[in-house]
C-alpha cells in the first residue's frame, strides 16, 4: 500500500515539476560532420533496438547510429537514391559485397577443419558453409570499412542520454 502511494506521489511530483521547470523538447546527442543525431531520433532507435536486444546499452545505440550516419553520408555522396534502408543496402552492395568472393578451397578448408563437428557430407553442407563464410567476411569488411570512413569525418558525442 505504502509503495502504491509512493508511486502515485512521485508521479504527481513529476507532473508538477515538468510544468514548473519547463519541458525538454530536443537536443543533439552526437554529430558526424554536419549531420546531427538528435535526442528524438535516439529515443526512437533506442526503443526499437531495446525490443530486439533488451540488454543493449545507450552507448552502443549511439555508436550504431553514428556508423549508420557515416554510411548514409557516403552513400549520398555517391548519388545513390532511396530511403535509408535502401541507401544502406545499395551502398553495402556496391562497396562491400561486390568485392567478396569465397573461393572453393576456402569452403573446403573450413569443412576439413570442422569435419568432426559438422558430421555431414561436404555436398550437403557446402552452401551453408559458403553462406556462413560470406556473412563472416561481410561483417569483417564492413567493420573495417566503417572504421576507415570514420577516420575521415568529424565525430563527436555531445551527451549520452
Amino acid at each position: 500500500m505504502v509503495r502504491y502511494i509512493l508511486v502515485l506521489v512521485t508521479l504527481f511530483n513529476l507532473i508538477i515539476a515538468s510544468h514548473t521547470y519547463g519541458e525538454f523538447i530536443n537536443r543533439v546527442v552526437a554529430y558526424v560532420d554536419n549531420i546531427p543525431i538528435t535526442l528524438l531520433d535516439f529515443e526512437k532507435e533506442y526503443l526499437k533496438m531495446k525490443e530486439k536486444l533488451p540488454n543493449i546499452e545507450k552507448e552502443e545505440v549511439i555508436s550504431t547510429m553514428i556508423n549508420k550516419t557515416v554510411l548514409l553520408k557516403k552513400a549520398k555522396e555517391l548519388f545513390l537514391e532511396g530511403k535509408e534502408e535502401e541507401l544502406l543496402n545499395s551502398y553495402i552492395d556496391l562497396k562491400i559485397k561486390a568485392s567478396i568472393i569465397i573461393p572453393e578451397n576456402q569452403i573446403r578448408q573450413y569443412y576439413e577443419q570442422n569435419k568432426t563437428k559438422i558430421n555431414k557430407p561436404y555436398s550437403s553442407v557446402r552452401a551453408q558453409i559458403e553462406n556462413y563464410l560470406y556473412e563472416r567476411e561481410l561483417n569483417k569488411k564492413l567493420k573495417e570499412h566503417i572504421e576507415e570512413l570514420k577516420e575521415a569525418v568529424e565525430i563527436k558525442i555531445v551527451f549520452i542520454p
Partner: protein
C-alpha cells in the same frame, strides 16, 4: 474500503492530470522564442531553418528536422530546445573560430613551410579532423625529408568563441647521407640535377625531384624507357641510372600523306617502351589513318634494325590509290536525298571509307525509322569503282508504309491532370510513329506530373504496330505529392544569406517543381557572384528541402593596361571594381584613363536590385581633353568637364534594356581655335542639365566579338533651362547593327547610325562639347579622328546632325587572326536641314584583328573613295575592339 476509494480517486485524478497535461503539451503554442549563443547566422534565418515561429503551434517533428537543417551550416556543436511556460528556449553552442595559428619549436624548416601544410586557416571554425590530418601531414612531410622522429603537438587555447592553436614542433635529428654512390650510365649533366650532398639529411622529396628532372632530360635526348632508381643502406645513398633506347624512325613510300604527321602517329606509341608488339600497334595505327583518308588497299611493313641502345625502324608504305566518292545514290526513297546524304560518313567528294559503309547503312535505317518508316529495310550498300579511284555507292531501300499513331490509351489512378494530358495526347494522334516519338510522349506526360508536385512519377508504356498503325498504351504511377520545403543556403562566406533568399522564388508549400530550380540557378548565376551552384534535394514524406551549395567568385578585380592609338598616342588605364558591397551584390567600378591628350576618371555605383530587378546607377566623371588636329598637332580646343549622372535601368523581355538618367555637366572650354568658334558658348564655362532616355535591343551572341544577332538602340537627351541648364536642346540618335555568320569563319557586319539635335527656346547653337564630331577609327575610317563635316579655315567645327554607315566582312584566318574588309560612309552637317546623301563621304579599306578575351586588337587602313583636293589618300588606325 474507504482508503481504497480515496486511492482510486487519487489515481483517477492523477491519470486525468497526465492526460490533460499531455494533451495540453501537444497543443503547446509558442508565444515567445529565446535564443542564446547564436552568432554565426541571423536569428531570422535560424528560426526559418528550425521551422518555428512565435504564436504558432509547437511541432516536435519539425524541430527535429529543423535541427538537422541548421546543422548543415557546419558551425554548430549542440542545439538544445526547451519549452517553459509557452516560452521556447534554444541554447546554441557553436564551434569556435580559429583566431590565431602559431608555430613554435621549428629549427630546420621555416614557419612558412609549416603554414603551407595547414589544412585550415585563420577565421575557420574548428574541425578536429582537419587538425588531426594536418598533424599527420606535417609528420609525414618531415619523414620524407629525413626527419623520421619528427612529432607535432597541438595546443588549443579557447577564449569564448575564439580559439588559438599552437603547433609545437619537435623535428628530432635527421638521418644523414654519409656518401653518394652512382651506378649505371651517368654523366655529369645528370649528376648536376641532384641537390643532395654527403652530410645532408636523407631527403626523399629532393630525390624524387632529381628523378623527375633526370627523366625529363633523358626524354629530351630522345631516349625511351630510361630507368632511374635509388637505395639507401648503411647511410650510403646509391643512385642507379639506366639510359633508355634511342629510336630512329624512317618512312618510305608515302606520297599522299606527310612524313611529319605519320611520324607523330608512330612516336605517340613510343612513350616509355619500345618492343615488337608496340611496333605492330604503330603499323595498325598507320593503316587505320590511311583508310580514314580513302586508301583501303594500303600496306605497311616495318623493317627493324636493332642494336644495344639504338633501334632503327623503317616503315615501307604501299599506299594504293586514294578512292574518292564521286556519287552516292539511293534506290527508291520518298525522303529528300540531300537529307540522307548529310547523315552519311561516306559523303560525295570525301575519301571512301569501307569500314564506315555498314554504319552508313544503319544510319539510313535509323533515320527512316525516326521519320515513321518503322518497317524500313536498307540492304547492304554497293560500292563500285567506276573509273580509276572514283567510287559510286548505292543504297537500296525498301521503305514500306509509314506508321502513324492511331491511338494512345492512358491508364492513371485518378483524373488529376487528365485534361492537360489528353490535350497533349491529341496533338500526337495521326502523327508519324517512331521510338523517339514514343519516348517523347512518355517524357512530356511525366513532365506534366513533375511540374505539379509529383517528382516520383513513373511512366510505363508499350506499343503495338499493326500494319501501318501504332497503338500506344501508357500507365502512370504518379506517386505521392510533394511540396517545396525550406531552402538552405551553404557556402556563402561574403554574400548575405538574406540577399540570396531574395533572389529565390517564394515557393514554400507550393507543389514541388524541379524546373523552377533551374530558373533559380540561372537567377543566382546572373548576379556574377558565384562560380558554382549545386542544388541538392533532401526529401521528406510530404516535402522536399533544397540545399543550395554555393562557391563564390572573387568579388574584387584590379585591371590595368596600356597601348597605343593613332590619335591619343601612348595611353593606359587602371580599373578597380568590387561587385559585392555589403554582401548584397551592390557594385562599384572606378576607372582612370590617361593619354597624351586626355585624362578621364570615373566612378560608378550600381545597385542591380534596388527594387526587384530594377537597377540604380550613379556615376561621377571628371575629364580633361586637349582636342587636336591629328595632322598639324595644333590644339583645336581644350575641355575640362565634371559630370554626374544618376538613374535607373531595367531589362525586360530577354533582349530589351531601357535606361532613364538625369545628367548634369559643368564644362569649361578654352584655347579654342577661332576657326571652330560658332557660338559664344564655345568658349568659357557652361552648365548643362537634362534627362536622357535610352532603349536598347540586343540579341548579339557575344558582346566583344559578335557573330550573329542585332544591336538596335535609340537615345534621346533633353536639356532645359528649367532644369538649370544654360541652353535648351533635344538630341536624338539611333544605331542599328546586324551581324550574320555567312559561313563558319565569315561574318558580315552592317551598321547604320544617325543623330540630330534640335534647339528650341532662345538657344540657337549647340556648344562645342555637345556637337557631333565624326570620322576616324569607329566611324568613317578613311578620315582622321573627328575631321568629317563642316570646316572653317580647314578646321572641323562639328555639327548638329550626322549619318554613318558601315559594311564589314570579318574573315577568320586561323588561330586568333581575322582579316577585315570594309566600306564606310557618312558625314556631319551643321543643321538637319542640310543633310544630303550626295555629300556622303565614302571610304573602303582593309584591317587585321587579333582576338583577345576583351575584344580584338586591331589595325585598319581606310582609303578615301571621293577624296577632295588637299586631303590625304587614307588613314591608318590602331585600336582595341571592333568599330561597331
Amino acid at each position: 474500503m474507504r482508503l481504497n476509494f480515496v486511492l482510486s480517486f487519487v489515481k483517477f485524478f492523477l491519470i486525468l492530470i497526465i492526460f490533460i497535461s499531455s494533451a495540453y503539451a501537444s497543443e503547446d503554442i509558442v508565444e515567445k522564442i529565446e535564443i542564446n549563443g547564436l552568432s554565426s547566422i541571423s536569428k531570422k534565418e535560424f528560426l526559418y531553418l528550425m521551422g518555428i515561429e512565435e504564436n504558432k503551434k509547437l511541432n516536435r517533428e519539425e524541430i527535429n528536422r529543423g535541427i538537422k537543417r541548421v546543422f548543415l551550416k557546419n558551425v554548430f556543436e549542440d542545439i538544445r530546445v526547451e519549452i517553459d511556460n509557452k516560452v521556447l528556449r534554444i541554447a546554441v553552442k557553436e564551434k569556435p573560430i580559429i583566431e590565431e595559428i602559431k608555430i613554435s619549436g621549428n629549427i630546420h624548416f621555416s614557419e612558412k613551410f609549416y603554414k603551407n601544410l595547414l589544412l585550415f586557416n585563420r577565421g575557420d571554425r574548428l574541425n578536429e579532423i582537419q587538425l588531426n590530418k594536418t598533424k599527420k601531414k606535417i609528420e609525414e612531410e618531415l619523414k620524407k625529408r629525413g626527419y623520421l622522429n619528427g612529432k607535432i603537438r597541438v595546443d588549443k587555447i579557447q577564449k569564448g568563441e575564439r580559439l588559438n592553436i599552437e603547433l609545437i614542433v619537435d623535428e628530432g635529428s635527421p638521418i644523414i647521407i654519409k656518401s653518394i654512390k652512382w651506378e649505371g650510365s651517368v654523366d655529369e649533366h645528370i649528376k648536376a640535377f641532384l641537390k643532395l650532398q654527403p652530410n645532408d639529411p636523407f631527403d626523399k622529396v629532393a630525390l624524387e625531384d632529381f628523378i623527375q628532372r633526370a627523366r625529363e632530360y633523358l626524354q629530351k635526348q630522345g631516349l625511351i624507357g630510361s630507368d632511374i632508381k635509388y637505395s639507401f643502406k648503411d647511410s650510403e645513398l646509391t643512385i642507379f641510372v639506366q639510359q633508355g633506347i634511342r629510336v630512329k624512325v624512317e618512312i618510305k613510300g608515302n606520297e599522299s600523306l606527310s612524313t611529319g604527321e605519320l611520324k607523330n602517329i608512330i612516336m605517340a606509341h613510343f612513350q616509355d617502351r619500345v618492343n615488337e608488339e608496340i611496333i605492330k600497334d604503330t603499323v595498325n595505327s598507320l593503316i587505320s589513318f590511311y583508310k580514314l583518308r580513302g586508301f583501303p588497299e594500303v600496306k605497311v611493313v616495318p623493317l627493324i634494325q636493332q642494336e644495344t641502345s639504338i633501334w632503327e625502324i623503317t616503315y615501307f608504305i604501299a599506299e594504293g590509290g586514294q578512292k574518292i566518292i564521286e556519287k552516292v545514290t539511293f534506290d527508291k526513297t520518298s525522303l529528300r536525298e540531300d537529307e540522307l546524304k548529310v547523315i552519311l560518313f561516306n559523303k560525295e567528294g570525301a575519301p571512301f571509307n569501307y569500314d564506315e559503309l555498314l554504319n552508313d547503312r544503319q544510319r539510313i535505317e535509323d533515320f527512316f525509322r525516326s521519320k515513321g518508316y518503322y518497317a524500313v529495310k536498307v540492304y547492304q550498300p554497293e560500292a563500285k569503282e567506276v573509273e580509276e579511284n572514283k567510287m559510286h555507292i548505292t543504297f537500296k531501300i525498301e521503305e514500306n508504309k509509314a506508321v502513324k499513331i492511331k491511338s494512345i490509351e492512358l491508364s492513371v489512378f485518378d483524373d488529376f491532370l487528365k485534361e492537360e494530358i489528353n490535350t497533349l495526347i491529341d496533338n500526337y494522334k495521326e502523327r508519324l510513329f517512331s521510338d523517339a516519338v514514343f519516348f517523347e510522349i512518355k517524357r512530356k506526360i511525366r513532365e506534366i506530373y513533375l511540374k505539379n508536385g509529383y517528382p516520383q512519377t513513373l511512366i510505363d508504356g508499350k506499343y503495338e504496330i499493326k500494319e501501318d498503325k501504332a497503338f500506344i498504351y501508357i500507365h502512370v504511377n504518379k506517386g505521392s505529392k510533394k511540396v517545396f520545403g525550406r531552402s538552405i543556403i551553404l557556402g556563402n562566406n561574403k554574400t548575405k544569406t538574406d540577399f540570396i533568399y531574395k533572389r529565390l522564388l517564394s515557393k514554400e508549400e507550393q507543389p514541388y517543381n524541379p524546373y523552377i530550380i533551374d530558373s533559380e540557378r540561372q537567377s543566382l548565376y546572373k548576379t556574377g557572384l558565384f562560380s558554382k551552384i549545386d542544388i541538392n534535394v533532401e526529401p521528406y514524406d510530404d516535402s522536399i528541402d533544397l540545399i543550395y551549395q554555393l562557391e563564390e567568385n572573387p568579388a574584387g578585380a584590379f585591371e590595368f593596361g596600356f597601348g597605343y592609338g593613332e590619335y591619343e598616342r601612348a595611353k593606359g588605364f587602371l580599373e578597380l571594381s568590387y561587385i559585392n558591397l555589403f554582401g548584397m551584390n551592390k557594385q562599384i567600378f572606378s576607372r582612370a584613363e590617361l593619354s597624351s591628350i586626355e585624362h578621364r576618371t570615373y566612378v560608378t555605383y550600381v545597385d542591380p536590385w534596388i527594387w526587384k530587378d530594377l537597377t540604380y546607377k550613379l556615376s561621377l566623371i571628371y575629364e580633361k581633353i586637349d582636342v587636336k588636329n591629328i595632322d598639324t598637332k595644333e590644339i583645336i580646343y581644350k575641355l575640362q568637364r565634371y559630370g554626374l549622372s544618376t538613374g535607373f535601368e531595367k531589362k525586360f523581355l530577354d533582349y530589351f534594356k531601357a535606361e532613364l538618367l538625369y545628367e548634369v555637366n559643368y564644362s569649361k572650354t578654352w584655347d579654342v581655335m577661332p576657326e571652330v568658334v560658332i557660338t559664344d558658348k564655345d568658349i568659357g564655362k557652361i552648365f548643362i542639365s537634362g534627362f536622357k532616355g535610352s532603349l536598347i535591343y540586343d540579341t548579339r551572341d557575344n558582346v566583344f566579338d559578335p557573330k550573329k544577332g542585332w544591336l538596335i538602340g535609340v537615345t534621346s537627351k533633353i536639356s532645359n533651362k528649367f532644369l538649370g541648364s544654360e541652353i535648351n536642346f533635344l538630341k536624338t540618335s539611333f544605331y542599328l547593327n546586324k551581324y550574320t555568320e555567312l559561313t563558319p569563319g565569315l561574318v558580315l557586319a552592317n551598321s547604320i547610325r544617325a543623330g540630330w539635335a534640335w534647339l528650341y527656346g532662345d538657344s540657337k547653337d549647340l556648344p562645342i562639347s555637345e556637337r557631333y564630331f565624326m570620322g576616324g577609327r569607329d566611324t568613317v575610317r578613311g578620315y582622321a579622328q573627328n575631321t568629317l563635316g563642316p570646316k572653317k579655315d580647314g578646321e572641323p567645327t562639328g555639327g548638329n546632325a550626322f549619318l554613318i554607315g558601315n559594311i564589314e566582312l570579318r574573315t577568320h584566318l586561323g588561330k586568333n587572326f581575322y582579316l577585315i574588309n570594309f566600306l564606310d560612309f557618312g558625314n556631319v552637317w551643321s543643321r538637319v536641314g542640310e543633310v544630303s546623301l550626295s555629300s556622303l563621304k565614302y571610304t573602303a579599306g582593309i584591317g587585321l584583328r587579333y582576338k583577345t578575351p576583351v575584344g580584338p586588337i586591331r589595325i585598319d587602313y581606310g582609303h578615301k573613295l571621293n577624296r577632295e583636293k588637299g586631303e590625304s589618300r587614307g588613314e591608318i588606325h590602331f585600336s582595341i575592339g571592333h568599330a561597331f
